[in-house]
Symmetry: D2
Subunit: 401 residues, 4 copies
């Protein structure tokens, strides 16, 4: 069973991730993780911090001589700016409180965890909350996702994402998806696959920057090369759709999730909302094919073998340079919300984080179905399943003659 846990504050010493359940023998080097960490830092509309941070992972456990051991994979990503924050964020008691009192946040930002966190955890300084509620935590998720992606790559699974909406700019319908998606998407400053929309999105970011405002958007994650039958219909919490929804909705600022047609499916009639079943396709789909993929690769909470398609809607960042109305928690008076960071949009990065979360859930489902303590064992079990699907396909073919 794959599990992961993360720790660390945004301006603390660093972030930690522990990823359990990856089989032994998966080739893994730091660069596999670092590549993804860099992708997360990119994207037009990011602020100053992304220039400070040049995230790189330190593999602390679970990997030896370039391959996983089957033990928990322990990863550290140091915060480069720690020296400047040391006195503010030190774990040590600060008798005078001089350091801790610096950079205190008392004007909670609407849309962030600040206010609720201060009240729930009974704190006088919103920093005690925002340091963990920060999107920086997603660095650790991306690290875990990168390892899962490495595992999935061994089974020919490709995970990519692209931005389909930013501000009010939408990608045109039916934009073709290249293979691999990320190679193309990463070329665009906003990770958009359509050149025209990409330009318009950049312009929207510029306009929002000028207006000292922020922008949200929608990213789409696409997983190709999945075998049919991951997940299960048998119990509510084994359904892959629900598990993916939790994983992606838990990304900071995500407020909506769609699988396949998503909300559009609700507007169609049944005759236009499903994917007719035909003969065709390879072993991974058991010899069946669909001309459409309205289901987004999931039926009954299980993969159909068609690409998994999941979209996440991100609200605009809640830290504006033209700050929102709030209350100063020290004085009780109306005030302007404090500023902590200055990205205009983080939708491209969110897409990368969503890829990571999807990678983790899909890897989890793979390990559940195929078991195995080593990559070789898992692959052997996987191949046996493909053979079984193939036998069924051949049986069907001869029946159908």
């Amino acid at each position: 069973m794959i599990r992961f846990t993360t720790g660390g504050e945004s301006h603390g010493k660093g972030l930690v991730a522990l990823l359990e359940g990856i089989p032994a023998g998966v080739p893994l080097v730091a660069e596999d993780v670092n590549r993804e960490l860099r992708r997360r830092m990119a994207g037009y509309g990011r602020g100053a911090r992304m220039k400070i941070e040049a995230d790189a992972v330190e593999l602390l456990g679970g990997v030896r001589a370039g391959a996983t051991l089957g033990s928990p994979i322990a990863m550290l990503i140091w915060n480069r700016d720690w020296e400047n924050w040391k006195d503010v964020m030190t774990p040590e008691p600060d008798p005078g409180g001089a350091g801790v009192r610096r950079r205190r946040v008392t004007r909670p930002r609407p849309g962030h965890a600040d206010l609720v966190g201060m009240l729930k955890y009974d704190r006088e300084d919103a920093r005690d909350i925002l340091e963990r509620a920060s999107a920086r935590e997603t660095v650790a998720r991306v690290a875990c996702g990168a390892v899962c992606r490495r595992l999935l790559g061994e089974f020919g699974v490709e995970i990519g994402s692209h931005v389909v909406e930013l501000g009010s700019v939408k990608v045109p319908e039916g934009v073709p998806l290249p293979t691999p998606i990320n190679q193309a998407a990463d070329q665009s400053p906003v990770r958009c696959l359509d050149a025209g929309a990409s330009q318009a999105m950049v312009a929207a970011v510029d306009a929002a920057t000028k207006a000292r405002d922020t922008l949200g958007g929608v990213a789409e994650v696409v997983v190709r090369g999945l075998v049919l039958g991951l997940g299960a219909h048998v119990s509510w919490d084994r359904k892959l759709d629900g598990r993916l929804a939790q994983a992606v909705m838990s990304i900071p600022a995500v407020k909506g999730i769609e699988i396949g047609l998503g909300f559009e499916a609700a507007r169609r009639r049944g005759s236009e909302a499903h994917d007719a079943i035909r003969r065709g396709g390879g072993d991974a789909t058991g010899g069946f094919a669909r001309r459409t993929n309205r289901a987004g690769g999931l039926e009954g909470g299980m993969t159909t073998g068609e690409p998994l398609v999941i979209r996440a809607a991100m609200k605009p960042l809640s830290t504006l340079r033209r700050p929102l109305e709030t209350v100063d928690m020290d004085t009780g008076e109306a005030a302007k919300a404090q500023s902590e960071r200055s990205d205009v949009t983080a939708v491209p990065a969110m897409g990368v984080v969503a890829e990571a979360m999807v990678a983790i859930v899909v890897a989890q489902a793979m390990v559940e179905k195929f078991g195995g303590d080593t990559l070789a064992e898992m692959r052997e079990n996987y191949d046996a399943y493909l053979r079984r699907l193939n036998r069924r396909r051949e049986q069907l073919a001869s029946d159908g003659e």
Copy 2:
């Protein structure tokens, strides 16, 4: 910790639900559950089965003399039609296989778990899959939700839902939400709060019926009376937004989830997408109020004290009376998908199921925060928290003078 598990097949003897972690001393009678089971069966556009079934719960464990014991609540809902299905669904070996072979399903329905399930579980009869993938399983979820609702009611929490979209008919924006929502919504044959939209939805159902087609739609669940601070921002899987998303996305046929503004938030600028913080409000919000509730009652994965608003998009049912194209698994030839059920739409029922899933997740979060082995203990802890929030409010008030 509240957990629940369900068992049983659609045409088996019955359904079972086991709900663990409800404190002792919560008043509970079968009618609390039956009321919700009846609400689930209602809704314009349902087929023949809803007339056969008149679901009622048998409380088998965990309840004594009208109150919970703290032990697992065991609930049974018998399937009324069992006698007609006995030979098809019997757990006993069927040497001749005569019974089992009756009603075999070999033409999988696109959009349902049939095909994937047959291949994944290597079965010759899709009935082995569809009996559990059936929406009938949600009866057991509604039963669990009803108990959680009873618990939440003790804390003044009201959970309701209404249909905001059915087919292509949308409820007008800004339709006012009555209190309680369900009293009004349950009056409408489609559980829609707007009379005009309600009529149009009924007409849409009639049209779809005539066209032998099916309709999807969107239901909105609203939870009022929640205290600020349920859920937590500290780890990805403690965030309430993700947990709600999983719970609701796991409902059969749901393909999209929104919290608060949802996808609309992605289209707005930051200055128009958050909820300015002001003084006001009662203890449950710590003395703060918002004029808007764009966040849908959740910031940083925690409740803000504003109503929780979550929408679920349901695709049209995949069993059409004008069946979709498929392949006959016995012959390998193109065929028309088999029919199993004949609802035209189940969106109103889906809203009721979504209420149940939300009730379970919210009750879970309440028990996590307030602990307690009895309702009285939980309430005492809850009240102490309110007092603390109130002290903070008073402090703020005196600061603000």
Copy 3:
């Protein structure tokens, strides 16, 4: 992932068990479960109730035509005595309270959950606690274990138990273990494999009966035919020894657990406490053999391929016919503890329950390692693993020449 949950009170309508994660295609009939339920009811020294109850399972879900479906297996075991307890245990509110007040228990039994439960859950009637704390709940565990045993049987795994100590009578050291163990053990009225000890144990029970006292003892569970490598050393909660310990220690009245030599290992020197590794043995042990099995089949939290040996110590029942000193919770006065049941010893039954718990944990570990949605798939993965172990054995053999 195999999980199970149970519900129901001792004198309620019945018990429910939900067992999830069993692959599809496992042959299963009610008699597979009933056989184990009968074994649990047997044993010299049981009281009147065992004659009333003739437990039989009703398969409510997850099984069709004599085989599992992959969906949750729902099992019901009705309490035969319900009619006599209906008014006492009814879930319905009892306005006059006449029924509920009958058979109220106010004199908590030392050694049972009565007192702690009354205080923790704030109840006036210990019945609200003891009905669930009762050993009757283990009926549902045995049902789940019986299904797991059926699955394990497909892999040649044999699970048996025998009583090694009862009262002060110990089985002689080195008593040979027949195959299968249960066939022999079930012949003995106390499930003891040594004829002399068996007689002495029966005599001890008779003496205790005469003394109106109760007896504890020790049962040993032995699992043969396990492949090497179940469980994992990588994280504390994946170690099979810990998981077995929890499962068995959670059986009512169990106060001690040993694996292999157990406490005796603590008294030996290292040179006498481990199992020297030699060549030999079949595929399931990778071509290695041990002359001893001091480790009880587990090293580093993983199965060695040698028999798994686990012992559980059960304290004497806390309901004596010569009752212990307690306090009457109504009057605050010293009193004699109430009597609820009159077994003199339940050690033979405890062994059967321990078999069930061990079966569940082992089946869980098998499903984790071999994955698979069907028995056939699981077996194919299992066979592939055996082949890999065999290749390694052959490699070793050629190296060793």
Copy 4:
């Protein structure tokens, strides 16, 4: 919900621990953890490594200005010897394999995870297994336990341990337990509370050292100051006895667990095996007292308010300087097991680790019962429970007059 995960190899860069679910506002400094890490390193009979390592924690997350934040507590313990092991344990691919090939372990030690791990994970070097199966992993557990102990200390809970058996030397029965236990036990080189036994144990270690052998033993953990009612009788996996058993049995080399009388209880008659209930005692026991504590503080899987007493039997270390018989995995020939470490006994350290595991489980149960996001909130809920127990005590007193 408190959870913890650890990562890191014995000779890797370091160990990581992530502890989730500790409320905010618990005072915590590194020294709270370091003190326990030092206690773990002590004990007569330890080898060279203990002198190399001087474990100290680096608090990486979850703590600010001397108090917890409610976020995951991330802890790092660097391995001092890393520089010497770098080329052997590097996560980076080692093309020539020169470093990795050094210190390869091919002669698996009986009693350790070596052989099973090599076969299960299909490795040629037992180091890939033993590095994680090593007792060094318990450093991370002790760190987590130290934080839980800090939390429990706020509620007056004292956790101590002492060695009751080492080699064949047993502490005399009825040795009085001082308060606090550890202050006294830590004075003894073998953590034994009886001076004579302590001396005999030291002598036994010396004799074993001379014989190039190793020794096991038994440690007893005692928890005082616990409130009545932690844990629950309602489901098998909520029972505190089972959870404690798993936690302690998962410690490397532990082969037996006893609670209270343990195996001795199995030998007594019911009239001599339970704890008669009397009036007396304070709020934490609801006004009841026991003259004996044969149950070891747990009835029905719940704390009674009496001291929790749990014993763990540790087999002698499997790495002997007079190595056991094994097979060389490279040659297939009989060989002597490889040596990796040279402690003669680690029973005193195991006791400290057992304290940590018990602390975690008990803290978990506290957080479950009392909820709360901050220490203050948790304490308020705790106090309310005590008041409720006290009201009950007063009611009883007036009844009893």
